[in-house]
């Protein structure tokens, strides 16, 4: 795998001129692995434990519930009664957009039900994810490069960049709603009369602009940290060798920043695929801005078990995206190294 991911010509200086894995192989290696394994278990235990309680338990209990029917109304008493086991029907209902029919069967979900929105919400979620993550990566990279330079007022820029991210989302969303109002400062400033939350394209771009504004600092900061791990001498050497700015960016900066960059993109993608607050407050999901998470929240209000199924579907979708990232785009924090170690058997 290491070779597939392509170590670059300037890779070596970063890791100090020697491959990281230079443990002698052969006799005694198994013992070493065993003792390292014990260490690793101790070091990892707190993380695993924290995640197990607060994330894994709720996930599993949600998955369990997703195989139960939601409560139905008993017409005689007017009270809800437990739905009973559902098999995969909660899942198939979402995927094939089937809704309950008055006669007891299923019909294609009519517009106005949540079920009718599954595929469009999936599409919207990807639309937001692809555009916001791309914009945030480009802008974040650019901001990081500027912030890494030495100039007067650099700390001002660094502090300013964090301002959007430091404002709690609840406030950010209200702020943008305020800005994007018809009589708001946005239209006033640019002398436009756009109904920002009134039709599909402006509404989607309102969400994208607000999200990009808010989360670019996250990208910028992670990339900046990556940039700062690159020793200055590497650049100087490249300059002496007459490399152009673009060559230096492509041959030095990009490969050396890649691990940090991939982690940042991976986590931004996972977050963007679960985007909720901003579109919810800005548009309440109108005009095709309903994301999967908004659909989950709306469904929770109508029945948790079906919402749990939708959450699990979302989970699987995100899982597939993460898989692609890790498998094909090299967003794996240890793969190169240990892959190389193992590959040389």
């Amino acid at each position: 795998m290491a070779t597939e991911l392509g170590p670059t010509p300037v890779k070596e200086p970063a890791s100090g001129g020697a491959p990281i894995h230079h443990k002698p192989k052969g006799v005694g290696e198994d013992n070493a692995i065993a003792s390292q394994g014990k260490w690793a278990a101790w070091l990892l235990a707190p993380t695993i434990f924290a995640l197990a309680i607060v994330i894994v338990y709720p996930i599993i209990s949600a998955i369990v519930m997703s195989f139960q029917k939601d409560a139905g109304l008993d017409p005689a008493t007017g009270l809800f009664t437990e739905g009973g086991p559902a098999g995969f029907s909660n899942y198939t209902n979402w995927i094939f957009q089937q809704c309950a029919a008055p006669d007891g069967g299923t019909v294609a979900c009519p517009p106005g039900t949540l079920g009718a929105q599954f595929w469009s919400a999936t599409g919207t979620t990807f639309y937001f994810t692809i555009i916001t993550v791309t914009l945030e990566t480009i802008l974040g990279f650019w901001m990081a490069i500027i912030m890494a330079r030495t100039f007067r007022g650099r700390s001002l820029v660094r502090a300013a960049v964090l301002v959007p991210w430091a404002i709690p989302t609840a406030v950010t969303a209200q702020l943008w709603l305020f800005i994007f109002a018809f009589e708001g400062i946005g239209n006033k400033l640019f002398n436009t009369t756009i109904l920002w939350t009134g039709s599909e394209i402006p509404a989607r771009w309102a969400v994208i602009i607000a999200d990009t504004w808010k989360t670019t600092p996250f990208m910028a900061l992670l990339i900046l940290a990556g940039l700062q791990m690159i020793p200055a001498e590497v650049y100087e050497a490249a300059k002496v060798d007459g490399a152009s700015a673009w060559q230096r960016f492509r041959m030095i900066t990009l490969p050396l920043v890649k691990p940090a960059l991939m982690v940042a993109i991976l986590f931004r993608t996972l977050d963007a695929l679960r985007m909720f607050d901003l579109p919810y407050i800005l548009t309440e999901g109108s005009n095709n801005t309903t994301t999967l998470s908004i659909l989950v929240v709306n469904q929770i209000r109508q029945g948790f078990n079906s919402a749990a199924a939708l959450s699990t579907i979302t989970f699987i979708i995100i899982f597939i995206v993460a898989f692609i990232f890790v498998r094909f785009l090299g967003a794996n924090v240890v793969e190169q190294q240990t892959g190389a170690g193992k590959g040389k058997k």
Binding site: G37, L51, I167, L189, A308, L310
Partner: protein
């Protein structure tokens, strides 16, 4: 024209070109910095302007401050109507610091193991950690609420701290692992040859080098905990509520009125400590940078 003068002229030209290029580079840097400042601060500026505006003129669109008043800040901190904004600020600070410290310590352990040690099931562990940030957070609340009800944790600080730790841990572990992998670990071994224990070598040699990564991660963890709203809105009570929940509790004087000006004032108040925090951490990040350069 002799060869010597020609050479001198060429050198002069070369120097001039270099100087020009440098000048241009610095101009470009400043222009870029100005654009970044505008993009990041313009909406925030509108927040601040609104925060200082009289509530009766909430929707005024004059660019410069008009009808300036401190009332909104007073409203934010006014406790007579049951607002606990001041208390909530302290709660957020306490929760944020605890989450940051614990998740960093725990995350550094895990990242060290993942980056440095060879053991079986590494991919399982990595997948497990990443999998934790794949489930829609909104759907975790119901089971979590029931779990915490059963063990009597609703309204306690741990009910807010532990979920937040879990939310930031995947990012913390991944970031640190990716940075640790790039560390010049032979320095650690060199230190051990010089008589340090493994722990000392890690603390004295590796940690300073990893400072930019660690402080960056700290800021990310702190802000993400500082921003958390969904879990806190359902698991906190009046005494433990963080500032995000307190802001959602702001209400206008009239039933359907949205108190924009007070919300913006609260946003302004909440942002300031973070900016200060970042300015303080700045120096650590830069210190880490120079430490790296010394090597």
């Amino acid at each position: 024209m002799t060869a010597a003068t020609e050479l001198r002229a060429r050198q002069d030209r070369g120097r001039k070109v270099a100087q020009n290029r440098e000048k241009w580079a610095s101009v470009r840097t400043y222009v870029s910095a100005a654009v970044i400042l505008f993009w990041c601060l313009a909406p925030a500026y509108w927040m601040v302007v609104t925060a200082f505006r009289d509530v009766g003129y909430t929707y005024d669109t004059s660019l410069l401050p008009t009808h300036v008043t401190l009332d909104n800040f007073k409203t934010a901190f006014d406790t007579s109507f049951g607002n606990r904004f001041g208390q909530a600020l302290l709660n957020s600070l306490f929760i944020g610091v605890t989450v940051t410290v614990i998740s960093l310590v725990v995350g550094v352990f895990a990242a060290y193991a993942l980056a440095r040690l060879n053991f079986r099931f590494k991919y399982l562990v990595l997948g497990f950690i990443l999998g934790a940030s794949m489930f829609p957070g909104v759907a975790l609340i119901t089971p979590l609420f029931q779990l915490f009800t059963n063990i009597g944790w609703i309204g306690t600080y741990q009910a807010l701290i532990i979920p937040n730790i879990s939310f930031v841990l995947p990012l913390t572990v991944y970031t640190m692992t990716s940075f640790f992998r790039e560390m010049p670990w032979e320095l650690e071994e060199a230190a051990r040859v010089d008589g340090c224990t493994q722990g000392q070598a890690f603390r004295r040699v590796i940690m300073p080098l990893a400072a930019p990564a660690i402080f960056t991660t700290a800021i990310l963890a702190f802000i993400s905990s500082w921003n958390e709203f969904l879990i806190a809105s359902q698991l906190s009570n009046d005494a433990t509520q963080p500032v995000t929940v307190a802001i959602a509790n702001f209400a206008g004087a009239q039933p359907q009125q949205i108190p924009y000006t007070a919300i913006m004032a609260a946003g302004t108040i909440v942002t300031i400590p973070l900016v200060i925090l970042v300015l303080v951490f700045q120096r650590k990040i830069v210190a880490g940078l120079t430490a790296g350069a010394v090597k």
